[in-house]
Amino acid sequence: MADASYLPHEFQYSSARHQAETAIAGMWLFLATEMLFFGALFLSWIYSRHWNQAGFDAGAQQTNLTIGTVNTAILLASSFVYSAGLAFIEIGNKRRLIQCCAVAWMLGFAFLILKFGVEWHGDFHKHLFPGSHFAITGPLSGGAQLFFIFYFVGTALHGLHMIGGLILVGWIILRARRDEFSPGYYTPVAAVGLYWSFVDVVWIVLYPLIYLVGRGP
């Protein structure tokens, strides 16, 4: 980070740089807790699949691979564009930062529309929500329902994190428009970037668990 000793800072820090680095450290630690949060879900998912493989596969084959794959591309593109915005503010290009954030925001929004407006809508239409009207019957029904419990819990939590991310990216846009960032101070841009990429990382685990593993070779 560029020299920022002239910038204001809270009274417990020795300098603005000291404060900025601490904020980033805090964000990393927060992401570690998030890792354990989703980690518990992934572990339970894999453990349950281990005992109900055929049922999980039967469930997974009902998922929409096309939307899942398109969404993966959208999400990765969104993070890439956001990172470009971070690089732009490091050299002081505020206009490009705002443009990048706006594109990243719209890509994230497109993901949510596809995921919940289209894919979930189709899932409910096909009676894939677990319960008495579940589409798959017979001996594989139990395992397939377990799969869809994990599917709905996992995608809902990921979606909530996406919504949180969109709020944060919007907040960055507002602050950038108020001219609050400079090459000497862009800690919130970097911190939100870490979070936005973390949401990708969660999806990169969810994507194969949902769409790929059950389809097999």
Partner: protein, 543 residues
């Protein structure tokens, strides 16, 4: 981001007089004020949980039970467990004494993220209100462990509401842990190297690691349980091929480390008090601090010992048994080190030291009886009996609550600027020690004789020991009300405290009592390790 620059010498009064409106308290970001907000909240919950405990002991005076319905009894011990675990024991030392003392000990002006600190208190309050709502709506009858399928399919009452409260409280814990870790890494005063940090800081660091890494797992577990409860279908449901035991694995992956969240800060408090009142350097400093870290690491690997009789594989049970023995080693090293510190020291029997000595004795009993339970063969006999209840109450109440009171008395002059009446302090420590032993020692015998826990009635041959235990509980209750009375009295009438009434070491004693809002007018520079008490020969001659 706001610029707050405090000029040296511009400070008058203390953090208590810096703003006296309600707003200045509820919107404060001062770690010292937030510590007091927390102190008020956890005291309330301590007495809510304590009232439930009193009713439990009242019920068990007669074999058929003094309270008519077993259902009511089940709800009482659930409330007692939930409130005491999540709303007193886990937060108690970190959010009150830790919040107040950590920045002072580090030579810092505040925690790294003061707004997050305030947010954690609000989360705690919301969580507490939700749990109290569920309590007044009738509570739940699952016990604090919420085992499936009881909690998911069969339990009556407000399981979801209780779980939501615990879920929110978890985020409050995470925020506190995160704040402490980052603060200890980033805000140490110049010259404050890791090995110059007081043991209390190391203990809270280890505690925080557990808080940030284990609590999210509980959050996910409770979320999956809530899903199952709401939709009537879930991942712990054996009818679908799900595994109810998975819930126990996930729950104890959090809850066993959480046991160390409850006791590690206590170790830290005791490690401050023993040297201060023995007027002697702490014995084996590096061993003590690394034992804290070792306990935090091993605590993540012992959860399986809660499931020895739940149908886990024998091989895994053996491994968990051995690992559970291992966690006793660093705990025992600490006990030896405290005794080594007192050896040939100039011991002063002030109230904090009496509580600390009580802690060492009771924790040792609690720890050693834990080894009985870690042994596979003995556990099959003792599990689900009052032996387990007595064991963890010796650690949690005899150990942790004593340590909390020890720390509260030790830092009370610093926090409030007032001295409490010393004789009442000593009397309180003694009454709690006697009342505690009378309450819980009979439960070891009851458990050994086979009395199961969590039943509202029992065979008549257990009556004498149960009456003894209930009698002890009344003494214990009196012992806990006593500090509430004389500490409150001292707030208004207590003698003014000097900056360092105990003549103890540590940066927190170098600033006035109570400290100014900025803690230190000029940032201190640390030039030596902690506990730099003079050699024992010198102390003997000069007092």
């Amino acid at each position: 981001m706001s610029a707050v620059v405090v000029e040296a010498g511009a400070v008058e009064g203390s953090y208590l007089t810096d703003g006296v409106t309600l707003r200045s308290w509820l919107l404060t970001t001062d770690h010292k004020r937030i510590a007091l907000l927390y102190l008020g909240s956890i005291t309330l919950f301590f007495f809510v949980g304590g009232t439930a405990a009193a009713l439990i002991r009242y019920n068990l005076i007669t074999p058929q039970g003094m309270i008519a319905s077993a259902e009511t009894y089940n709800r009482l011990f659930t409330v007692h467990g939930v409130v005491m675990v999540w709303f007193f024991l886990i937060p108690a030392v970190p959010v009150t004494l830790g919040n107040f003392i950590v920045p002072l000990m580090l030579g810092a002006r505040d925690l790294a993220f003061p707004k997050l600190n305030l947010a954690s208190w609000y989360l705690f309050v919301v969580a507490g209100v939700v749990v109290l709502c569920s309590l007044f709506a009738g509570g739940a009858d699952t016990g604090w462990t919420f085992y499936t399928p009881l909690s998911s399919s069969y339990a009556r009452g407000h399981v979801v509401l209780t779980v939501v409260g615990i879920f929110i409280a978890g985020f409050s814990s995470i925020a506190t842990g995160l704040n402490f870790i980052v603060t200890i890494h980033r805000l140490r005063a110049p010259g404050m190297t890791w090995y110059r940090m007081p043991v209390f800081l190391w203990s809270l660091y280890a505690t925080s690691v557990i808080l940030v890494l284990a609590t999210p797992v509980l959050a996910m577990t409770l979320l999956l349980l809530g899903f199952e409860r709401i939709f009537g279908i879930g991942v712990f449901d054996p009818a679908l091929g799900g595994d109810p035991l998975l819930f126990q694995h996930l729950f104890w992956f959090y809850s066993h480390p959480a046991v160390y969240v409850m006791i590690l800060p206590g170790f830290g408090v005791i490690s401050e008090i023993i040297p201060a009142f023995s007027r002697k350097r702490i014995f084996g400093y590096k061993f003590i601090v690394w034992c804290s870290v070792a306990i935090a690491v091993i605590s993540f690997l012992v959860w399986g010992h809660h499931m020895f009789v739940a149908g886990t594989a024998l091989y895994s049970a053996l491994v968990f048994s051995i690992l559970s023995y291992m966690v006793a080693v660093p705990s025992a090293i600490k006990v030896f080190n405290w005794i080594g510190t007192m050896h040939k020291g100039f011991i002063l029997f002030d109230a904090p030291m009496l509580y600390a000595l009580g802690f060492i004795g009771l924790f040792t009993i609690g720890g050693l009886t834990g080894l009985f339970l870690a042994a596979l063969g003995a556990d099959v006999h003792l599990t689900q009996t009052y032996f387990v209840v007595a064991h963890f109450h010796y650690v949690m109440v005899g150990g942790m609550v004593s340590a909390f009171f020890a720390g509260l008395h030790y830092w009370w002059p610093k926090i409030t600027g007032r001295i409490y009446p010393e004789m009442w302090g000593r009397a309180g420590a003694l009454i709690i020690f006697i009342g505690f032993n009378l309450t819980f020692f009979p439960q070891f015998i009851l458990g050994y004789l086979g009395m199961p826990r969590r039943y509202h009635s029992y065979p008549p041959e257990f009556e004498v020991l149960n009456v003894l235990s209930s009698a002890g509980a009344t003494i214990l209750a009196a012992g806990y009300l006593l500090p509430l009375a004389y500490l409150t009295w001292s707030l208004f009438r207590g003698e003014r405290a000097s900056a360092n009434p105990w003549r103890a070491t540590g940066l927190e004693w170098m600033t006035p009592s109570p400290p100014p809002t900025v803690n230190f007018v000029s940032t201190p520079v640390v030039t030596e390790g902690p506990y730099a008490y003079p050699a024992p020969e010198i102390v003997q001659h000069h007092g």
